[in-house]
Amino acid sequence: MSGPPFVFLLLFFVAPSVIMVLASFRYPGEFGGLAPLFADTQTLHGLTVETYEFFFSDIIYGYVFLKSIFVALATTLICLLLAYPLALLIARSPKKSRDLMVLLVVLPFASNFLVRVYAWMIILGPQAAFSQAVNGVLALFGMEPVHLLFSPFAVLVGMVYVHLPFMVLPLYTNLEKHDPALLDAAQDLGANVWHRFWRVTFPLSLPGIFSGSALVFIPVLGMFAIPDILGGTGDMLIGNLIKEQFLGTRDWPFGSTLSIMLTVTVLLIVWLTTRLAGRGRHYA
């Protein structure tokens, strides 16, 4: 019973991952792709760590990685700020309306990912009412008009919009389990609204915050389509860099190296988050 799925995943998930690790140690082919291991009897291409040296020798790659981590962190934080009040409201609503409220959060998922990104092309476009309004306000203060589309701002808005439900759901699942008696007890002991939130609700919700953050942070870190569609030429992130190596310049060894570095970054961050989450549980 476990045989067929095991073999399938071994073939189309494990093997490709191993191939990618190997490819990162290969030489690039003359016309893109990979150089053959043995070109002919005279020249042996073999394996190399050249691509890794290249990655660490040019500051630009470190910069793109740092920028991507920053964008992913900013997206996670904004999603958290937007999702928290919504998740809290749903969790504190009567049981019978909760399902509908959650469904209303999931429903935008029903539209294609590209459609959700495309919607922001319309809203942020120079002729749209939103851009006109923003530039009208800027003009009042004597400032130059700004171009909202094809900017880092547009990329951030798109990232938040597409990933927001991933933050709401785990937060809600966590908040729903809180015993309301805890808040009553805190109130009886003289805690005001502010204290009740920061001393009771928030610490208890840390596991939800951590799982939501992972669900937003990881896909954003590797995202290429949103910067590709909503960003300008300068808004390249890790994903765009990888896409460029595989489909543009066709330097597959370097593309593989970038993918491995992305994997390592994700694993590092997951490891860090689980450690933090472990401490959070202790704190709660």
Binding site: A23, L82, N112, I122, I123
Partner: protein, 258 residues
């Protein structure tokens, strides 16, 4: 319970943020103007353009075909995986099924691209897309089936065996009818994921085959036209009906509880 006016205001603002952009896409699909900038008048012109756009129709056909085949195979393999993981507590299989979905999508896309071309020497096209879609769908089906099994009493299966049912009969007359709703929900989920996928298809499609998302991508990279709004609106309707269907078979899937 404590639901102050500020909480309501913040939550409603977030709901508005979720729905306004999509509403704009839908509304402008009926707008009698080439620009998505201001409302001019009602028209079905863009839907007319759409149904005469042969490339788009071909892409839609491809998408449906790929979704049917990959959902079918992924449901089969995912159900097996979900049952095996539940019964034998297979951590490795669980890891193999879930990791492709947990990592950034681009990683599965490029590693499959490398594998198909470098190792299998396969010309990218329908087959490579279908194989890629099965790979990322198995995990979703497995999770849904496994959740259903976890919610059931294992003694049901033991009772069947005690009463003399063979392993096959136990599966055929006890296990399968019980997990059927989850299997159907998983299949619908796999179908929706396949129809919607852009990133992994982008890397495994090659040059010959277009799917709906690939077609939409190349259209919005060139120019914003209300035809995109029209196809988006129809796609929303399709996925919406799939979600409604899936929720009838496994209501918990939508509640973020799986």
């Amino acid at each position: 319970m404590r639901r102050g006016p500020w909480l309501w205001a913040a939550a409603l603002a977030v709901y508005a943020f979720l729905y306004l952009p999509l509403a704009i896409v839908v509304v402008y699909s009926f707008n009698d103007s080439r620009l998505n900038a201001e409302w001019v008048g009602f028209t079905l012109h863009w839907y007319d353009v759409l149904i005469h756009d042969e490339e788009m129709l071909l892409a839609a056909g491809n998408s449906l075909f790929i979704a049917f085949v990959s959902a079918f195979v992924a449901t089969l393999l995912g159900t097996m995986a979900g049952m095996a993981i539940h019964r034998y507590d297979l951590k490795l299989l669980n890891f193999m099924a879930l990791t492709p979905v947990a990592m950034p999508e681009i990683l599965l896309g490029v590693s499959l691209l490398l594998f198909f071309i470098q190792v299998l020497n396969l010309t990218l096209g329908m087959l490579s897309i279908v194989l890629a879609h099965i790979t990322f769908s198995i995990g979703f089906v497995a999770v849904i089936v496994r959740a259903r099994l976890a919610g059931m009493d294992d003694s049901l299966f033991e009772a069947a065996r005690d009463l003399g049912a063979s392993p096959w009969e136990t599966f055929r007359y006890v296990t399968f009818p019980l997990i059927l709703p989850a299997v159907i929900a998983g299949g619908l989920m796999a179908f929706t994921l396949s129809i919607d996928d852009f990133v992994i298809t982008f890397f495994t499609a090659g040059v010959g085959v277009q799917t709906l998302p690939l077609r939409i991508y190349s259209m919005i990279k060139i120019a914003v036209t209300p035809e995109v709004n029209a196809v988006s609106t129809l796609l929303m309707l399709l996925t919406l009906s799939m979600i409604v269907l899936a929720s009838r078979f496994a209501p918990d899937v939508l509640k973020g509880k799986t």
